[in-house]
Assembly symmetry: C2
Homo-oligomer: 330 residues x 2
Amino acid sequence: RCFHFCKLPGRVMGIRLLRFTSVVIIVLLLVAGALTALLPTIKDDKLPNSRREPKTQSQSALDSFTLIMQTYNRTDLLLKLLNHYQAIPHLHKIIVVWNNIGEKTPEEMWNSLGPHPVPVVFKVQTVNRMRNRLQNFPDLETKAVLMMDDDTLVSAHDLAFAFSVWQQFPEHIVGFVPRKHISTPSGVYSYGSFELQNPGFGNGDQYSMVLIGAAFFHRGYLEDFQQQPEAVYALIDETQNCDDIAMNFLVAKHTGKPSGVFVKPVDIRNLEKDTNSGYSGMWHRAEHLLQRSYCVNKLVNIYDGMPLKYSNIMISQFGFPNYANHKNKM
Amino acid sequence: RCFHFCKLPGRVMGIRLLRFTSVVIIVLLLVAGALTALLPTIKDDKLPNSRREPKTQSQSALDSFTLIMQTYNRTDLLLKLLNHYQAIPHLHKIIVVWNNIGEKTPEEMWNSLGPHPVPVVFKVQTVNRMRNRLQNFPDLETKAVLMMDDDTLVSAHDLAFAFSVWQQFPEHIVGFVPRKHISTPSGVYSYGSFELQNPGFGNGDQYSMVLIGAAFFHRGYLEDFQQQPEAVYALIDETQNCDDIAMNFLVAKHTGKPSGVFVKPVDIRNLEKDTNSGYSGMWHRAEHLLQRSYCVNKLVNIYDGMPLKYSNIMISQFGFPNYANHKNKM
């Protein structure tokens, strides 16, 4: 029989076993806690009883884009468009460049009508400048920027497709509005669209610019834009125009290729007649087109040469809306 | 007075001057001869009284292409098509792959009806094989190959545009006939066109192949084709089909991207009903499409995987035939 001595190992072992088990349990709880912390957090602006799956806080920087929309005197259009654009697939965030100086942004109203699919940031400006939208916003987290005018509605299908095209041509401005310059015997350039004569490279037309008011481009070009000669900013400020032409010059210089890739839109609409503000866009000013020709020539001076190149590539989405768009007699 | 001694220098100088002058003249003649030899030679098949400017013997290998057209039992169509294709801009040479075994080529007739804009080479085959057209012909001098079926008429405008597109996408098959494969839950693939369900990547359709019977591609792929597993040749010979599917597999493996770029043709026609031979193409055989699905699955076996990738990029020529092809409400 084993009294004191025999019980001791048992009790010691028992205590050790107990301690060991406790330690194991505590470690397991800590690990479980750590794992839980790594799970995607539910976004703050979603109600807890939301039936939708919580979106991960940050979509891959390569698989999503940021919408930058500058707005002036058309808040009714802005809000209508935001309702549409907030739901575009692959959208990461919206940056609204608020050019209504001294006026409150609709942020409160926006928040009160949440939840929203993506965050919106209102960047309040101090001066009403056309080039405000070309700042290198620190809010940008994605490689791709989608820039839209505040009166332009492009369908979700068109945007999803154009984004996929941009991903294949990330150094170009991929968008829906092509324009061109032509040179004349005098050496003076002129700006225009299809109504201008074709540049004469074979048949059909050519374009040498894609306007940034409805286009995707790489955020790196916003950084580059900050490094341009002062004369470029002066030109844009003087005309309150031509920021898009300047961007096309920048991109063409950078790539040595045509700056843009034109994607033919299936459904693009200009909503400016729908505004209650009575404000119609800058392009209605009588001198608008003449200004743009003026800008082309000034930019050629500033950059000491004409970097724009022509392209006649027009991209459409195969089989959309239906296969009729590529059916032929074969 | 200076007799003997004085005359001597004069006579010597005179002789030396004479020699020197002769040498100079001879050297000048040699130089002139060398320069003449460097001038572009008039091509042999042009009549001396030709009013057209003689074309330089070799257009830049990058700025022109070689047409390869295989023909079987449709010589009337062949000759009709040659009249059209011989005049396509940027064409360097035509290679006719003569699959009419034992039959004389129309070379004599062709020559008697000269002059022609480009040289034509008739490659007489010993066996009637579908893959004869995929030989690495030593006659090829250009980087680009245009391969056409002997019953297909594509307009010059379409070809000029598609060639310019190929120059921007030289590692792809750039052509006018898109096709696709789809995978099924069983893992078995099926081959088809728009009638097959869309692969399900968003909306619209996708294509994963561009057929080589109406397409541009890099001659390097003909070299690559000679290095394929024997089983590929056996498959093509067994089916007398699928050489184009094999080429798409090859290109997709090589690039890791979609093999083809689809250019939407404005004017493409199939002339097979116009033939007097009564011979209609292979694709009328009952088993044609089933064979092609069979080929897709065999090739996946041979290459141990499915290298084909989907694309939905459709390219058209901006502003051709007229600006209506991109006009929109903006």
